[in-house]
């Protein structure tokens, strides 16, 4: 006899575990199938949490490196001046403590909501059935719905073979026990530029190879340009418009060739090559096609309410596609989708997500926070665009913290004064983007941002000032 549930969630990442909790809150009997030893998925185990922990270490190191500026003296026990050094064993210990604390937190939430964690690999068998393999086979049955939330995994590009020793992915990079002398990073999305910031701060020589003409190509071009400028100052080499034509792993490092934007060829030697070219869907062992799920380039096709082509099976998170132009692979998007799917299954009426209002945060140094349309996207959609830009450096709060790089840029349209996008790079941008997100969600005009009082002295003043700038002139510029 199969174990009977209302909802079976496959995958306990931020999409799956949130969907499970929401479904349980709404009175449904829920099981979650997860093959890893801990709950939390990519976000908690290899992604958001551990990488941002390392970035906080990098930031602390940066402050200490500038101790003199802050009037702080570093003395050795003998009383002589000491240089700041980083102890990677302690860094990883602290990071692991954070990760463990959070995964235990999810376990606690499962218990609290009476959600069963079924350990093992799930296989869809049709008609609401799920087989779970770990040791012996368990048979589960979902009376209402199965939610597939199997997520994604790093993936390479053709011609570059990942050996996980010298040619590595973010999964290995997060566990590197030493600071590499040199590292080449292929791809300058969030993963690429975050590791670039971490390793550069820890002392590595860093080279980024990006195929497109700018770093962080999904961001507004002004943001990309600002990051390139800052990286240059920090001594990170960015090869944009460059194609890695060959990469070979040796015993102590890698040897690679890149074709540069001007057509010339450059050879690259480094201890590691981090391949950060994106993530692909995880459906291995799921029997997705066997039960009739439609796949597009490996992703599970869903509608705006996350129903797959098979009744009784939904899918959310990194593993899905809603069709072009592509689906953002972000923890908070997966969670939002999980909540919608759970509520729909529980019989609540739900609204479709607006994917134009998804905030994106990149924790490189300087940080990037953005939401909504970039200037170019707004133009491509035919809006009569106007922009406003305000540099953080002017603000008192920025000067105090010694973080004066970057700006807030507002993209709006003229006819109705509609706020279309807010893009920022600089201190606290990943927090400041929350204001912009709610402004977009509430369909604000630029004037609403102008009329919103921004406390002084804060970095948030830059948001209000950028709004002023979009209407003609900032006050403090």
């Amino acid at each position: 006899m199969p174990s009977e549930y209302d909802v079976i969630v496959i995958g306990a990442g931020t999409g799956g575990y949130v969907a499970a909790i929401r479904a349980a809150q709404l009175g449904l009997k829920v099981a979650v199938v997860e093959k890893q030893k801990a709950l939390g998925g990519t976000c908690l185990l290899w992604g958001c949490i551990p990488t941002k922990a390392l970035l906080e270490h990098a930031h602390a190191f940066k402050v200490i490196q500038n101790a003199k500026e802050w009037g702080v003296s570093l003395l050795s026990p003998s009383g002589s001046a000491a240089a700041a050094t980083i102890d990677m064993t302690q860094v990883h210990a602290r990071k692991d403590r954070i990760v463990t604390g959070l995964t235990k937190g999810v376990e606690f939430l499962f218990k609290k909501n009476k959600i069963d964690w079924i350990k093992g690999t799930a296989r869809l068998t049709g008609g609401g059935g799920v087989d779970v393999f770990e040791g012996e086979k368990q048979t589960l049955h979902a009376g209402k719905e199965i939610i597939v939330a199997t997520g994604s995994a790093p993936r390479s590009v053709p011609g570059i073979e990942i050996d996980r020793r010298r040619i590595i992915t973010s999964d290995e990079a997060i566990h590197l026990r030493e600071v590499p002398k040199s590292i080449a990073i292929l791809g300058s999305g969030a993963v690429g530029v975050e590791f670039a910031s971490i390793f550069r701060r820890f002392g590595s020589s860093v080279t980024i190879i990006e195929l497109l003409s700018h770093l962080v190509p999904v961001e507004d071009e002004a943001v990309s340009t600002e990051l390139e400028k800052s990286f240059r100052k920090q001594g990170i080499t960015s090869l944009t418009g460059a194609k890695l034509t060959r990469a070979r792993a040796g015993a102590d490092g890698i040897d690679a060739d890149a074709q540069l934007s001007d057509g010339t060829s450059q050879s690259i030697q480094a201890e590691y090559l981090l391949v950060a070219t994106g993530r692909g869907p995880v459906t291995a062992g799921l029997n997705a096609e066997g039960v009739g799920l439609e796949l597009q380039k490996g992703y599970i096709k869903v509608d705006a309410q996350y129903r797959t082509t098979v009744p009784g099976i939904s899918a959310i998170g990194d593993v899905i596609t809603l069709g072009p132009p592509g689906h953002p692979q972000l923890a908070h998007v997966s969670s939002a989708e999980g909540i919608i799917a759970a509520e729909r299954i529980a019989g609540m009426e739900t609204r479709d997500l607006n994917y134009d209002h998804v905030p994106g945060c990149t924790y490189c140094d300087p940080e990037i926070g953005s939401v909504g349309l970039t200037e170019r996207e707004a133009q491509e959609r035919g809006y009569d665009v106007r922009v406003g830009l305000f540099p953080f450096g002017v603000l008192g709060r920025a000067k105090m913290s010694g973080e004066t790089e970057g700006f807030v840029k507002i993209v709006a349209e003229k006819k109705y004064d509609e706020l279309l996008g807010v893009h920022m790079i600089g201190p606290r941008s990943t927090e400041l983007v929350a204001e912009a997100t709610i402004a977009l969600q509430r369909e604000s005009t630029v004037e609403d941002l102008i009329r919103t009082i921004h406390a002084h002295p804060t970095m948030a003043e830059a948001v209000g000032e950028a709004a002023h700038a979009a209407h003609g002139a900032a006050i403090h510029l």
Binding site: M348, E349, D352, K415, Y416, D417, T445, H471
Partner: protein
């Protein structure tokens, strides 16, 4: 809602008569278009009680006191003299008794007979800000004038309100699919996109957590007439019909059309638009045309005149009416002393009057006293119109659609923003040459706009 202290000590104990308000000096009677409240309903002071239609304006009348509707004496569609009692409001304490089946409301009746509104069913109005449009001849204290439309009271977003303003849409007519029934950008764009039949896909339905919309009285929507049926004209419709036929009978209508190059105006508008926006005004082509017309009226006084028997009255003031299309008809609010106003002031006033026309918040004296009228068929795409004079005026200016056209400039074909302006004038007092002089004046002003004016 802030509590208002009773103005009279007996308020709350004694029944209060509600009378048909005097909406203007010359107005003797008014028609009850719709009762917003029914017998047995409780009402707050200043909460809209009923809608009236008079010769001059349509307005929502707020309740003079808080209490419970004890009696309704004038039925919907009935026309009653000013100051006659149309309802009685009892003390709130008597609510239980008044709401008992004994005092049950009259059975709902089809409202096509005499209902002036042609609006789609709308939710019962939320308590709106006190309306200056309805000075009551009762104990209600003078109410503060309100500055803008009341769209803010609907659940919507800043962007939706901006779009609504631009398109002159009453947000209460749109079904909101957002959180808590909020009208979203998609809702209003779908509405504008030609559909009163909004998408009712399940995904758009409000979630059950949202309060269900209160039941709405069945109201045939005259906005969508049913073929094969007949319907009574609304008081406003009747008024328009009489007025137009009277005008055709009275004046010797002649029309003349001028073509105007808007390059200069477009250029100035572009450079000044942001500045005007910051000043809270919208710089439209209409603003410029209005200003140019006012200047022309000053230099050709016979266009700003009326016929009275055998005499011609040359008006001292230049009061320009702007025809505003409503879903339920047409109204012409008047900009008083238009010649003493700046372009900025004119822009603001036009927007304000148009908004208040649509939200039925015009005061009676804001729709009277016009000496000249501008109508804008261009907004609906017309090349030009042949408008009928608004009696007792002598002329009316029609604005066609401003659009880019190929024209000949210095023996070369050029693309310029062009529009046809038409004038309908009364040949009894205005001859062709004079009318054309007037129009040439406007054309000259617009084509050679002095940037210092904006």
């Amino acid at each position: 809602m802030p509590l208002t202290a009773p103005r009279f000590t007996y308020e709350g104990f004694m029944p209060t008569d509600v009378v048909m308000p005097q909406m203007g000096e010359s107005i003797a009677e008014g028609t009850i278009v719709r009762w917003i409240k029914k017998v047995g309903d409780s009402v707050e002071r200043d909460e809209p009680l009923f809608e009236i239609s008079t010769d001059k304006v349509d307005a929502e009348i707020p309740s003079p006191v808080a209490g419970v509707i004890a009696e309704i004496r004038a039925a919907e569609g009935e026309t009653v003299p000013v100051n006659s009692v149309v309802a009685v409001i009892g003390p709130a304490a008597a609510q239980a008794a008044a709401a008992s089946p004994v005092a049950s409301p009259p059975p709902p009746k089809p409202q096509a007979d005499g209902a002036a509104t042609t609006k789609a069913p709308e939710p019962p109005p939320v308590p709106v800000q006190p309306s200056a449009a309805a000075p009551l001849a009762s104990s209600a204290p003078p109410l503060p004038a309100k500055s803008g439309g009341d769209e803010g009271m609907e659940r919507s977003s800043p962007l939706v309100r901006r779009i609504a303003k631009e398109h002159n849409i009453d947000i209460s007519r749109i079904r909101g699919t957002g959180i808590g029934g909020r009208v979203t950008k998609d809702d209003i764009l779908a509405f504008i996109g030609g559909s009163t039949s909004q998408a009712t896909a399940d995904r758009g339905a409000p979630s059950p957590s949202a309060a269900p919309a209160p039941p709405r009285p069945p109201q045939p929507s005259a906005g969508r007439p049913v073929p094969g049926t007949s319907a009574q004209m609304s008081p406003m419709r009747k008024k328009i019909a009489e007025h137009m036929v009277l005008s055709r009978r009275t004046s010797a209508h002649v029309h003349s059309v001028f073509e105007v190059n808007f390059s200069r105006v477009a250029q100035i508008r572009e450079t000044k638009k942001a500045e005007y926006e910051r000043a809270g005004a919208k710089l439209t082509y209409l603003s410029f045309i209005l200003k140019a017309a006012v200047d022309a009226l000053r230099s050709v006084p016979v266009v700003n005149a009326s016929v009275d028997g055998d005499s011609i009255i040359y008006h001292k003031d230049i009061n320009v009416g702007i025809a505003v299309a409503l879903d339920w008809g047409l109204i012409v609010p008047v900009i008083k002393n238009a010649d003493s106003r700046s372009l900025l002031d004119l822009s603001r006033t036009v927007a304000d009057l148009a908004n208040r026309a649509r939200s039925k918040q015009l005061k009676p004296d804001e729709v009277s006293g016009g000496t000249f009228t501008i109508t804008n068929p261009g907004v609906f795409g017309a090349l030009f119109g042949m408008p009928i004079i608004n009696q007792p005026q002598a002329a009316i200016l029609g604005i066609g659609n401003v659009e880019k056209r190929a024209i000949v400039v210095d023996d070369a074909i050029a693309i310029r923003p062009m529009a046809y302006l038409s004038i309908g004038y009364d040949h009894r007092i205005i001859d062709g040459a004079v009318a054309d002089e007037f129009m040439s004046h406007i054309k000259r002003s617009l084509e050679n706009w002095d940037a210092g004016q904006a």
